[in-house]
């Protein structure tokens, strides 16, 4: 027993002296390395399954109500210049604006969202922003109160439009997304630009 114990000690001593760590530690480290690689691969697959491609969204507000639009369809955001009214235009048309040497049609998002409330005066533009949208060869600005930021959202964070929303309004949205602790409507640029 003593000899064996001594032998064992010698064996261990020998192995430690050559590799610097015990075979058990080596085996454990190898296992941990493999587990880590597996976990990373599995995590990547899981993340891809859950999220799909991320979308960059511009978040803005009309009053306290938040909205988002895919940044891929936002050409620019600017302060409104003088907007020339157009007689005979639909109520949601605020008018035409000189946008850095180009003619830009500016739409009132409030009136697009609430087509029934068309009798009020046109929206004041002071202190607001124009978000210039482009989709399917069409371009227009929409007047919004404030612009918050652009953030990335995984596809899994975009939920379908609530069933409780009126269908005429629901057609303007691609979905609902949680942004900064509140749900905002993800606008469909196509629906906003097409009457």
């Amino acid at each position: 027993m003593r000899t064996g114990a001594v032998n064992t000690n010698f064996e261990v001593f020998d192995m430690v002296s050559t590799s610097g760590i015990s075979p058990l530690d080596e085996a454990r480290e190898e296992l941990l390395r493999e587990a880590s690689i597996e976990a990373q691969a599995s995590g990547r697959e899981k993340a891809q399954e859950e999220s799909g491609p991320a979308r960059s969204l511009l978040v803005f507000f009309l009053g306290v109500e938040g909205f988002a639009v895919d940044l891929a369809h936002v050409r620019k955001v600017l302060r409104p210049a003088r907007i020339a009214r157009v007689s005979g235009a639909a109520p949601e048309v605020l008018g035409l604006m000189n946008c850095e040497g180009e003619v830009l049609c500016v739409l009132d998002l409030r009136r697009i969202l609430s087509p029934g409330k068309e009798t009020g005066p046109p929206a004041a533009t002071e202190g607001k922003f124009v978000v210039v949208l482009r989709h399917g060869g069409k371009e227009a600005g929409i007047l919004v109160d404030t612009v918050r930021d652009a953030t990335e959202h995984p596809a899994s964070s975009i939920h379908p439009v609530l069933d409780s929303i009126d269908p005429s309004r629901a057609r303007l949205f691609e979905g609902t997304v949680a942004c900064g602790g509140q749900f905002v409507g993800l606008l469909s640029p196509s629906a906003c630009l097409n009457p």
Partner: protein, 97 residues
């Protein structure tokens, strides 16, 4: 390089500044009565028509580079007579009819 230009009679219809090709203007009449305003008779170049406006502001010459197409988003949302182009200068936007 384009050197063409068009002379426009500019009127205020109460909402927007409208521009009409001066060559098409037959005459301008002041409308009597409480409502007032002016009546612009057109038809020297095309079919005769009368346009009522609040004020006649004068004329302006626009170069070809100051004349832009009507944005599609607007064209789809205009009922009645639609402008055929937009005049864009540094100071004003004119709707060309």
């Amino acid at each position: 390089m384009t050197t063409g230009s068009v002379d426009l009679l500019v009127v205020d219809d109460g909402e927007a500044l409208r521009g009409y090709d001066c060559r098409d203007v037959v005459r301008v009449e002041e409308v009597a009565g409480e409502a007032g305003g002016y009546l612009v008779r057109l038809g020297r170049l095309g079919s005769p028509r009368d346009v009522a406006c609040r004020e006649v502001l004068g004329s302006v010459a626009l170069s070809a580079r100051e004349i832009r197409p009507v944005p599609e988003v607007l064209r789809e949302r205009v009922t009645g007579e639609a402008p055929w182009a937009v005049g864009l200068t540094e100071r004003e936007i004119y709707l060309l009819y």
